[in-house]
């Protein structure tokens, strides 16, 4: 295809790659700059590592306090609540304290015994916490503190979806947008570009995918090790059933959230999600080096 312009931007502790098709180089650069500005603004609102973000301020709320938040933070939290319910609790944004403890363990600030006990304590605190997100207006209420938020499992996907809205506003119809290689959004004008071809691989297998107007996210043990965190127990000793999982969804927020969730879920639970969840298009997984793809309507 002619007129292909590619751009890269570093944000959210990773890098974003945007490729715009069928536009002039100048217009594509203008759009890319607006997209990256939007991602930076979203990071300022959603990152718990930014002391002035909405999420940092929610994490500091005391009992009976409330906080007005940005529309986008409100939207992201509402989707996070939906994903938590639909993923049987395996996707959970309320685990920032646990993440802080892991880090302290890795840095040698807490020893192994202290880390384990600290995780138990953080989980107990989380279980008695109540944070309400107002359904009517962008506002959060702290009924009982003890749960601290980290939107790392959903923020990049949400950012991609907001850029998709911007691209529609700018009348850009064909582009691919990757967040740290783990979430890929593909938007295409089928009359110009019917699909984009990608490949997923396992140790002993590979599969070609022709993708169009979809988002795909991956989670795996290759980069994060064989023991991963299970928000249902609050411990980081879960041994996953899969080597890697890919989730394709109508939007990037869902593919991002469910790639994390599906990595922890059992196969029957994943099959149920593929069959019933309207946002999820398909899930692929790797076991013993072999790939399997679960598609809607191909399941009994």
């Amino acid at each position: 295809m002619e007129n292909t312009s590619a751009f890269e931007h570093q944000a959210m502790a990773t890098y974003f790659k945007l490729t715009i098709y069928n536009e002039t180089a100048e217009y594509a650069e203008n759009a890319a700059q607006q997209a990256f500005n939007l991602i930076d603004e979203l990071e300022d609102k959603l990152s718990r590592f930014r002391p002035d973000s909405d999420i940092s301020r929610i994490n500091k709320l005391k009992k009976d306090e409330h906080l007005p938040i940005d529309f986008e933070t409100w939207e992201a939290l509402k989707i996070a609540i939906a994903c938590h319910t639909e993923s049987h609790g395996t996707f959970d944004v309320g685990v920032a304290e646990h993440m802080k403890i892991f880090r302290a363990g890795k840095e040698g600030i807490l020893n192994e015994y202290e880390t384990h006990k600290a995780l138990e304590k953080a989980q107990a605190m989380k279980k008695q916490a109540s944070i309400y997100v107002d359904p009517e207006q962008p506002r959060v209420y702290c009924v009982n503190p003890g749960m601290y938020f980290d939107l790392g499992g959903i923020g990049k996907g949400y950012a991609l979806d907001k850029v998709d809205e911007l691209m529609q506003e700018l009348e850009i119809k064909t582009f691919t947008f990757s967040a740290g290689d783990s979430t890929l959004m593909i938007k295409n004008d089928v009359s110009v570009k019917p699909y984009f071809t990608y490949q997923i691989t396992a140790k002993l297998d590979k599969h070609r995918l022709d993708l169009g107007n979809i988002s795909v996210s991956a989670s795996g043990t290759f980069h994060q090790g064989s023991h991963i965190f299970d928000p249902r127990t609050g411990q980081n000793d879960f041994k996953p059933n899969f080597e890697r999982v890919w989730v394709a969804a109508k939007n990037a927020t869902y593919s991002d959230a469910f790639s994390t969730a599906c990595f922890i879920l059992s196969l029957p639970e994943i099959e149920e999600i593929v069959q019933t969840n309207e946002q999820i298009e398909w899930v692929a997984y790797a076991i013993d080096g072999k790939l399997t793809i679960l598609r809607k309507n191909q399941l009994s």
Binding site: P68, E107, G146
Partner: protein, 449 residues
């Protein structure tokens, strides 16, 4: 729900927790104000910063009632109007002409997010029309106009707050008010350093649906389409990197050091991008602070953002990195006994980032020999003892402070007279750069209005 049921629900919530829930609690209310208690405000300029005011700041301020938006680019103002009305079930009007807007709308206040060269005339006219003004920095692109603005605030008695938002950032205010002034935690500050590094000066272009009429844009002082979208690159329209970026941070030097520079050295050039304005600059500022001499060192880089944006203050008892991003750490000088700073921890002002004592074993355990621990540093913990904690992002807090000042509930955190003093040293830096790199003395009287 019946009252007794509500009580039971709340009791159960606090015992077992509901986790994160989409619901409104019964016992916490946001206390919305009546319409008559609100400040009718309009936003002029619907570009990047104006959109931030409209969509991120105003909705979080219960006492602000957005009634109108204004922009000379039709698609920008109409998009802002439609999106705001849809998101917040509102009924704001959109105007091209500022003067038509203040004539037709019943405004208490107006906020400007427009190119610098328009600030003076619009601000002075609004103040004279009895409308309070919030104006984005810089006050103008020349010192004479900045002075006119401060004088108009003084003569009309109406409010004029300038948008250097760090002045309303809770962490900056806490650092200034409690750590530096009340506790004297850093001892004597001897150095202030700051950098704003960005990867590029991006050139913006019209979007496909921005229907521009050049004849009409000329009416508002723009000669080309590029001037409309990239006005910061033109000397007759804006102030360049020193005003756009440097003035935020040099203002903090002045605030924290409790003084304004008596001498500036500065150099800069446009060698990387070749625009009218300098894209690279460095300045050294000499101060006589109440505690003794101090030096400020400040730089702008426009071709790499690897080092980020931060301010750093060095004292003889402690030092700190402070920023609106992730660069926030406080360090104790090794010569200061740990016990001396323990009182700041005990008061809850700071937390030692390296101990996580809430999770440490109280008994000996294996605490003696293990992996190498990281360097000791601190961060702000609870902002107790401060006159006011906004608990809002700085841009929202600054506008909130303005709106509450219009209502008579607060005093401005950063009025035009205070801002003018920092603008003076900014224009002296401009002067030094334009002279090809010069040393300029500043008479203390030049800071006065």
């Amino acid at each position: 729900m019946e009252k007794s049921n509500r009580r039971d629900f709340i009791k159960k919530s606090s015992l077992f927790g509901t986790g994160l829930l989409l619901a409104s609690p019964f016992n916490i209310t946001a206390n919305p104000l009546k319409a008559a208690d609100k400040v009718n405000i309009a936003i002029v300029g619907c570009g990047g910063r104006g959109s931030g005011m409209i969509f991120s700041n105003i909705p979080k301020i219960p006492s602000a009632n957005l009634v109108a938006v204004c922009d000379i680019v039709e698609s920008r103002r109409e998009r802002a109007k439609e999106r705001y009305n849809a998101q917040y079930d509102a009924n704001v009007n959109a105007y091209e002409d500022f003067y038509e807007m203040i004539e037709k709308e019943n405004l208490d206040a107006v906020a400007f997010a427009t190119p610098d060269f328009w600030h003076m005339q619009h601000s002075v006219d609004a103040l004279n029309a009895g409308i309070h003004v919030y104006c984005e920095k810089a006050m103008s692109n020349n010192i004479e106009d900045a002075k006119k603005m401060a004088l108009a605030m003084k003569s009309t008695g109406n409010l004029l707050q300038i948008g250097r938002q760090r002045r309303s950032n809770d962490r900056y205010r806490f650092t200034h008010q409690i750590l530096l002034e009340q506790e004297q935690m850093m001892g004597r500050l001897t150095h202030a350093m700051g950098q704003w590094n960005r990867s590029k000066i991006h050139l913006l272009q019209p979007n496909k649906n921005d229907n521009l009429d050049m004849k009409q844009l000329k009416k508002y002082g723009f000669d080309t389409v590029d001037q409309v979208y990239n006005w910061r690159n033109y000397k007759k329209l804006g102030g360049g990197v020193v005003s756009d970026l440097g003035s935020h941070q040099i203002d903090i030097f002045n605030w924290f050091l409790g003084a304004y520079p008596h001498t500036v050295y500065a150099t800069g050039n446009n060698s990387y991008f070749g625009f009218e304005q300098a894209d690279t600059m460095a300045t050294i500022l000499e101060y006589d602070t109440p505690k003794g001499p101090a030096i400020g060192i400040y730089e702008n880089v426009s071709n790499s953002r690897a080092i980020g944006v931060y301010e750093r203050f060095i004292g003889d008892e402690g030092s700190m990195n402070i920023s609106e991003s992730t660069e926030n750490k406080i360090f104790r000088e090794a010569s200061v006994p740990e016990e001396k700073w323990k009182k700041f921890e005990d008061k809850g002002y700071i937390a030692n980032l390296a101990n996580m004592k809430e999770y440490k074993e109280k008994e000996l355990g294996d605490s003696g020999i293990k992996e190498t621990a990281p360097q000791i540093s601190y961060d702000i913990k609870d902002m107790s003892g401060m006159d006011k904690v906004y608990n809002l992002q700085a841009h929202t807090a600054h506008l909130y402070n303005f709106v509450e000042s219009v209502r008579g509930e607060e005093k401005l955190n950063y009025d035009a007279i205070e801002s003018y003093k920092s603008e003076v040293c900014i224009y002296k830096i401009h002067e030094a750069i334009n002279a090809g790199g010069a040393r300029i003395k500043i008479d203390p009287k030049e800071y006065e209005i």
